[in-house]
Subunit: 259 residues, 2 copies
Amino acid sequence: MKQGFAMSDDNASAASAPRRARKAEAAPDLGVAAAASGVDVEQHIYETVFDSVLNQRLTPGTKLPEPALCELFGVSRAVIRKVLQRLEHERIVELRPNKGAVIAAPTPEETRQIFEARRALEVSIVEIAARRHTPQDLADLRRLLAHEHEITHNPYQPAWAACAREFHLRIAAVAGNPILTAYLTELMTRCSLIVALYQPSGNAACEHAEHGRIVDYMEKGDVASARAEMGRHLRALEDNISLDRGASTQTLAQMLNLG
Amino acid sequence: MKQGFAMSDDNASAASAPRRARKAEAAPDLGVAAAASGVDVEQHIYETVFDSVLNQRLTPGTKLPEPALCELFGVSRAVIRKVLQRLEHERIVELRPNKGAVIAAPTPEETRQIFEARRALEVSIVEIAARRHTPQDLADLRRLLAHEHEITHNPYQPAWAACAREFHLRIAAVAGNPILTAYLTELMTRCSLIVALYQPSGNAACEHAEHGRIVDYMEKGDVASARAEMGRHLRALEDNISLDRGASTQTLAQMLNLG
DNA sequence: ATAATATAAATCGTTGACGATTTTTGTATT
DNA sequence: AATACAAAAATCGTCAACGATTTATATTAT
């Protein structure tokens, strides 16, 4: 098969020109801003790739050649390599030695493990959140539920996925443990990859109702029911994933929402 | 304060010599072995640092200068940098921009979060393990308990810590979810840092008894009791950490068990 | 026409070097 | 003697280049 990339052609002219405005001898470029922006540039590249994965512009299996990313972002290979290693550790990309980086493609077995891990984590998280929530926390969750309700009938899948993601992460935020939140964030990102791979026939309205029940139990202080409902909800999510595949024909620049 | 390092002196003569035996023109060094060993070298460096942290030779706050590590392991800065980034992502070292890497020193608040995350994870892990264990799994756990019993009266703290660590990770292995095992591994490594920082007055015999009860409940299939006992056990662990500090005077080479 | 082989292109791993920042050391002043 | 300041050393971030490996392409033989 053929990957639909054409970046070395259309980007060689667009990205190489601003690249030279770094240490020019004519412009008195204050070196402080250039050096201090280094860490921000790295974060920007990371977030761009991350966001593209969440929005399914970068789909599992997509190759991420280092030279292409260098030209797209106008940086050296060292910083690209650093970002790729970070993404690898979060299981978003897979780094095959001497063969390049690709967006990770969770196998069915990994999918099972990811959902089992989510259940293990989230039932504990919702238990902590059910004990620790403030009135403000509940108001925020209700507001998220209202936004969910509006978007339930939106056919654009990534929008709903982002909404649901925000809900689960908000509960983790209520629990107030950054470590558990980080783990859950990682697992939910991998779930985005799963959704992109095996398009689930998810019923947004059904999921929305389950979210509502979870908040209801939290408000009542019914910890056990909140745990049970979260467990049911996650099992239901796992239960509707098919095994179709979809291949893309976009360019890497389009997937990254650049140019 | 003064860090007790003297590596640039005694290592400049010992490590720079074998460094040159890489691409010499006289020796027909087969480049395949040198290139293929690259990933193993990286893994070796990682495991050396990791092991040194577990054994409390590398204690929180210890600086890890890149040039020193380059000479100690005879590699370039790129590979050292890669290992440091990996260790940073696992929260074992902290990478302060432009200020170097140090062994992480969990704060009291982080300590609370780490133990809360351990409880959240391990009660679910032991529940899965209690449902999924085979006779062989139970035999292995009993064997670990026997080894624990022998070492209970050993005054050398890291030996007992390694034993307890193995027990908890074995339960995770019985649960059979690599993702949860990886998260727990990370948390237990951070617990080693906590132990090194705030030396707990842990009662090994008491912990050993709790381990035994956990396995008993698993064997009986009493899932709820296994969960509860694990929760009690982890709370007890958290409850005895003091707030003393200890500073080291060893050289980095000694801490890494080299030469 | 297809398969196998050889050549060419692209990509990755590693290294050494340069500039910028931080830390240490030495000096002068109060 | 202690503090403040300045020079020097050490360390880190980034980059460009070289060799090795992989992938794609072109050629040739069956």
